[in-house]
Amino acid sequence: MNEWAVIQNYLVLGALLFAIGLVGFLVRRNMIVMFLSAELMLQGVSVSLIAWGRLHNDWGGQMLVLFMIAVAACEAGIALALILMLFKRSGQLDVAQWQQIREEGQAPFVDREIPEIREEPQVWPSLTTAGVEPEQDPEEHLHRSRV
């Protein structure tokens, strides 16, 4: 009986992770965050599987999670390749760019309010110039200074 009480905790945790992944998948518009939410759903299911395997003293739970890790790796590789191809075509990671494949008879989703682009106040420290000015790298604009 005690074992059942122990396993209940883990099963509810698995359901919680799955549910939060579900919310993330349905709400976010960035393709990569949608995929991360799908991976989160897989994590929730993994916790559930191992809990059941421990309850029934069956190795099948752990085996299935092992194969799920392998399949998730394959899926991540192919999904990221596809996302990169979609990004090359549309210039954005937004899923709303690809609305031409929606169901027939459904109105397209239109951004009602375009959020204002907040300019963060850039405060750079200023030092008094001293010494010899360093050589400017002519290709510096090709590097991305921050992500």
Partner: protein
């Protein structure tokens, strides 16, 4: 008719209400930071109530370690879903993976705990970050802050909380599953049980005798996925040479 008194007194009802409100406030996108603080507070309150609702594990140490790891996993998951920048989402996801690896260790699946950290957090999340490096615009993109409107946010948060509350309610209502008692009578020998002291040896034995076909299929699948991913990229590059892509910068989706 619904017995309103008993509904309002039940902890699960308040978990659903607090969780839905908290998630909706966190995912809203608009509004100032006050929204985020309130949403985070309500979500934490829902998590604490859920922790109270769960049955006692029977030992202080196991229960407290579980609460710490599970709370960390849930909070990191909520952070991942609500984070503005996808790089932050990937980092929160790495934190979820570490917490879930701890949960696996607590459940006695030692190989899977380490495999999660090494394979998932060490390879898959790193691949995500590489792709983000190649594809993420500088600064915040507008589509990271807007969503599909208020209805998907509210309905999906409500559905998620109902799933959790439904699972918690059903599990607490059920007696211990009968198959567990049946299996206990015909339990596998001590050396082959899930709690065998030689975990790696027993896992390897099970993997390569009982699940051999699955191992071979998984290996083939990995090879096929590798070939497929390279083919997708090569095909894309070929198409790019034929027609130059139209890369539009910062275009909003409005007709």
């Amino acid at each position: 008719m619904i017995a309103w008194q008993s509904l309002l007194m039940s902890l699960l009802f308040w978990i659903v209400v607090c969780g839905t409100l908290g998630l909706t406030l966190l995912l809203g996108g608009r509004g100032g930071s006050g929204r985020h603080w309130l949403g985070g507070l309500l979500s934490a309150a829902a998590l604490i109530m859920l922790g109270i609702h769960l049955p006692w594990m029977g030992g202080w140490v196991e229960q407290i370690v579980f609460w710490i790891l599970a709370g960390l996993a849930a909070l990191a998951a909520i952070g991942m879903v609500a984070a503005r920048s996808p790089v932050y989402s990937a980092l929160w996801f790495a934190l979820v993976l570490l917490a879930v690896a701890g949960i696996f260790l607590l459940l006695g699946a030692q190989f899977l705990g380490i495999a999660t950290v090494v394979v998932y957090a060490g390879a898959i999340v790193v691949t995500f970050l590489f792709v983000l490096m190649l594809a993420q615009p500088e600064g915040e993109a507008f589509y990271d802050r807007v969503s599909w409107g208020w209805f998907p946010i509210v309905s999906s948060s409500l559905t998620a909380m109902l799933i959790v509350a439904g699972v918690a309610y059903t599990l607490s209502d059920l007696p211990a599953p009968r198959s567990w008692q049946v299996v206990a009578d015909q339990a596998p020998p001590e050396a082959e049980s899930v709690r065998a002291p030689q975990h790696m040896a027993t896992l390897g034995g099970q993997l390569f005798t009982r699940h051999l076909v699955s191992v071979e299929i998984a290996g083939t699948l990995l090879l096929v996925a590798l070939v497929g991913a390279i083919a997708i990229v090569l095909h894309g590059r070929q198409e790019e040479q034929e027609q130059p892509p139209a890369v539009r910068e910062g275009r909003f989706w409005n007709e």
